[in-house]
Amino acid sequence: MTQTIYEQLGGAPAMDAAVDIFYRKVLADDRISRFFDGVDMDAQRAKQKSFLTMAFGGPNNYTGQDMREGHKHLVAKGLNGTHFDAVVENLGNTLSELGIKDDLIAQVAAVAETTRNDVLNL
């Protein structure tokens, strides 16, 4: 049986390494860093970790409603498709750095894609 990316990376403990790569990329990305201004970084990192867990096929309980409600205030500040794309790009780069192959990265991007309408409140 094929492993999920979550399992391939090493499960829960690997998410710490993954989130620090991903979160740093996002904060350093001028296209999207402003959406992270003024947030509690510890809380934000925990949410990022939950998001990565979900995107990599790990156990999660996020619903579409959670993603929609959680991003509404950012949509009000101008969050749009280009920003969503930038996040997915950083996600892909994170996985590359962790040695995950392109075809699997595409699978993760597809999972992330399913959240687009909820995240952007479309």
Binding site: A12, M15, D20, Y23, R24, L27, A28, D37, G38, M41, D42, A43, R45, A46, K47, K49, S50, T53, P59, N60, N61, Y62, D66
Partner: protein, 336 residues
């Protein structure tokens, strides 16, 4: 097994988590992932032990205060838990002294007249007995030395209700406190780590306590203290800190004025320019450092982000952000 929360005693079912048990009784506890990752369901135990497995991902200073993830917690004995922002009871104190350190910064010493235990670097809520006016202040004292007295460094703002009231007090006047709160304090496990302490203005207060606490506990790593301000007056306690530095190696101390251009000669003997820029040049790799940041919200958040991007673990950055209370204006959003 019994779980107590807000005066309710609940019997836990076999294998039930604290979160499940509380939700079942109708309590509204925040939660989201139920996997121990998002940390929405954090509570605090005030009596009883929680399994260490239910504390994964929390900072060491949060674990020390009994914080745990209620979705993961399957207790092995009776527990009494409270919300994390539960401050317990008001503790009476009386004024010992008010001393002007600079035209706008006062050292306030209060005598504790009840049970109160704290770790150097934590903060308290100060409450005016007449109308319950409440403001938060960091503790600059160390319980081992200052025993029943606590020390606060209060910046007096024009029109500041609490700071101006404090300045009007006399010896033996009553002030109530609640707490302690905050994750910014020293732990024995930090003993051989390097410490970076960065404070803006009266943000020095908790760092001064942490510095003394670390040295008393036999800290062996380097300690780098950076005190930054807008004007030379903000850089108080230089003599006290110089004295500590002269008696303890390796402790390093630099002061600076952010408002001036980098390398400006007007700043002398202090440095000039942004604290974070100076620090990144001095300390190139912050991996494994324990970092304590204290001062105005915007500066602290900016520093935290810069140090995280420079390689520090987010869980190694302990930040105490001060915010200034503003009077709500008609029609404007209330600032809290």
């Amino acid at each position: 097994m019994f779980l107590t929360y807000k005066d309710h005693k609940i019997i836990l079912q076999e294998g039930q988590s604290v979160l499940e048990a509380l939700l079942e009784t109708g309590e509204s506890i925040s939660y989201a992932c139920k996997q121990g990752v998002c940390q929405s369901c954090v509570l605090k135990t005030v009596s009883g032990q929680v399994p260490t497995a239910s504390q994964v991902g929390l900072k060491p200073t949060q674990k020390e205060q009994g914080y745990f993830l209620s979705c993961l917690c399957k207790p092995e004995g009776d527990l009494e838990v409270v919300d994390c922002d539960d401050l317990g009871f008001k503790v009476p104190t009386s004024v010992v002294s008010l001393e002007k350190l600079t035209p706008s910064i006062y050292k306030v010493r209060l005598k504790i007249e009840g049970d109160f235990a704290y770790k150097a670097g934590q903060y308290i809520n100060l409450i005016r007995p007449s109308d319950q006016l409440t403001r938060s202040y960091s503790l600059a004292s160390v319980q081992a030395f200052d025993t029943e007295e606590i020390e606060l460094h209060v910046k007096v703002f024009p029109g500041g209700e609490m700071s101006n009231w404090l300045m009007s007090l006399s010896e033996k006047d009553s002030v109530e406190i609640m707490g302690p709160m905050g994750d910014c304090f020293y732990l024995p496990s930090f003993k051989d780590k390097n410490l970076l302490l960065l404070g803006y203005g009266t943000g020095l207060a908790p760092l001064y306590g942490i510095l003394k606490d670390a040295l008393t506990q036999g800290h062996t790593g380097d300690i780098h203290l950076y005190h930054w301000g807008n004007t030379p007056e903000d850089l108080y306690y230089q003599a006290e800190i110089d004295s500590i530095v002269s008696k303890n190696a390796p402790v390093f101390y630099k002061t600076g004025l952010e408002a001036l251009e980098k390398d400006s000669l007007e700043a002398a003997p202090h440095l000039s320019g942004e604290a974070c820029v100076v620090i990144q040049k001095d300390l190139t790799d912050l991996k494994d450092w324990k970092i304590f940041l204290c001062g105005g919200e915007a500066k602290v958040n900016k520093a935290r982000r810069i140090f995280y991007l420079a390689g520090a673990d987010l869980s190694d950055i302990y930040a105490d952000a001060f915010f200034t209370w503003q009077k709500p204006q008609v029609g404007a959003e209330k600032v809290s």
